[in-house]
Amino acid sequence: MAVIIQNTQIAKNIYKMRVCCGDDAKAGQFYMLRAWANNPTFSRPISICDRDGDEIIFVYEVKGKGTKIFSSLKSGDNIELLGPRGNGHELSAKKCVLIGGGVGIAPLVYLAKQLKSHGAEITAYLGYTNEAFLTEDISKYADKVIENIGGYITDYIDELDADSVYICGPEIMMKKAYELYKYTNAKVYASMERRMACGIGGCLGCNIKTKNGNKKVCSDGPVFKAEDVFYE
């Protein structure tokens, strides 16, 4: 049980929630969030957007039942956090490209922060549907930020000389972005999403087919080498 410090709207349907929680968590990991008893049945996976002292910051889009409930919470309310879960990102100290689409941009904030502290050089491509958010946060750490609203962010990618590429967003966008780097020397990582029941590896509900067989997004991922998941 954790206490909500702040929960405010930052863009259309996009909310930022600060939660008091002393966990040690890595960029790319997520928590299973729950603010109800037994209904909805599942907790909802939300990535770590950022950390600030004892606080963890989530940025989420209101999609359905669960996120609707999250958006109604007020500071002082309790929320259950299960986590941090998942593998998280390997950090590189060299030339990094971050590519985010929609609310997939959220986890890039903490990633950029971490990469920066490892001395990486960062270019970030951020694609939005309606309205930009978190651009300033990422600008704090990225050397170059290219943002686009309404188009395909993959059309704007011009920095192909990278050591590591981190992609998070709709699957189709991730695949397209990966294609751009497929024949370069960059290591490309994609943050995958699947519907989750348990979030801890117990149900096999979040299965993803990879080059190396079935994997669980919740515990083997959510970060995968793009070549392993976009292999077909």
């Binding site: 907790s43 029941a197 348990c198 117990g202 149900c203 299965n207």
Partner: protein, 299 residues
């Protein structure tokens, strides 16, 4: 004194709470959250003779007070399980139940035979599997095929045999009796209910297989009725399940005639669910000053 201990097939269970097959993997993931050896037992992820990749597409879907799954029995296969048995079961010091299904009689027989190589407490036979040879009809939906598969496995296995019934039937008691006659040592029920969900936005079924298995609190009232009917129909012990989330739910199933229960979906709502349920039952027995076995089958 342990007020929660129960006897089931001559095996001493620390308490009547067993993790349900397919919802607890082989225990490791939950061991991170609490000492899983406090459980009465664990029914491992369902095996089939051969390794299975499981189903494509959406595998879990939420519904009112429950969920649907279409995992498709993804599992390493009996062979690998037997080979790596010590890996799978090391550190597990509670009743071990191995759950196994099959697509035809031969698979069941071969699987059970292979499992004779390793030691565990109970073999749980999942007969909610489609019998490929008879057009995909589930073994568990008619007396004849339920009898046949139970008998065949009973003949070959050296383990205690618990047959797990499907609830998708008109008359659960008659299927239960058929299994008892065929030599089942115990019964467990219910498996998931065949169900459906539609993605109205995209105008297509949610699941690639169209239908999927329903579990969770929503099925509890039907599951409880079936456990009651079954316990009244047979002499062998019954392990009840279906939508158990709380200690009170457990009491209902025990009173209805189950000697133990399995808990599945609740593990996804809270990984500590089974631990919490055990604590609740301890408090109940303390308060009522009874042993849990006193309430079994009193209704």
């Amino acid at each position: 004194m342990n007020r929660l201990s129960v006897d089931f097939l001559g095996i001493n269970f620390k308490n009547p709470i067993v993790a349900a097959s397919g919802t607890f993997s082989f225990g490791k993931e939950f061991a991170e959250f609490y000492d899983i050896n406090m459980l009465g037992g664990i029914s491992f992820k369902g095996l089939t003779l051969n390794k299975k990749e499981g189903n494509e597409g959406i595998r879990v879907w939420e519904c009112e007070s429950g969920m649907m799954n279409s995992i498709g029995l993804e599992n390493p296969g009996v062979e690998e399980f037997v080979e790596k048995y010590t890996d799978y079961t090391q550190n597990i010091d509670t009743v071990k139940i191995v759950n196994m299904g099959g697509n035809n009689l031969q698979e069941y027989i071969k699987g059970a035979e292979l499992l004779n190589k390793v030691d565990f407490d109970i073999l749980e036979l999942n007969i909610s599997c489609p019998n490929v040879k008879s057009g995909g009809m589930l073994f568990g939906v008619c007396e004849e095929s339920a009898y046949e598969v139970t008998k065949a496995v009973k003949n070959i296995t050296r383990h205690k045999l618990m047959v797990k019934l499907t609830p998708n039937v008109t008359d659960i008691a008659s299927i239960a009796k058929a299994c008892e006659e065929a030599g089942a040592d115990a019964l467990s029920l219910v498996n998931t209910f065949q169900a459906m969900a539609i993605d109205v936005l995209h105008k297509k079924p949610i699941f690639d297989n169209i239908y999927a298995g329903l579990s969770g609190a929503c099925i509890k009232p039907i599951a409880l009725r079936m456990v009651h009917q079954t316990a009244k129909a047979v002499k062998i012990p019954v392990m009840g399940m279906g939508g158990i989330y709380t200690g009170t739910d457990v009491l209902e199933f025990l009173m209805a005639g189950a000697s133990c229960v399995q808990v599945g979906t609740a593990n996804f709502i809270n990984p500590l669910a089974l631990k919490n349920i055990i604590k609740e039952l301890e408090a109940y027995c303390e308060k009522e000053n009874i042993n849990i076995k006193d309430i079994i089958n009193i209704i």
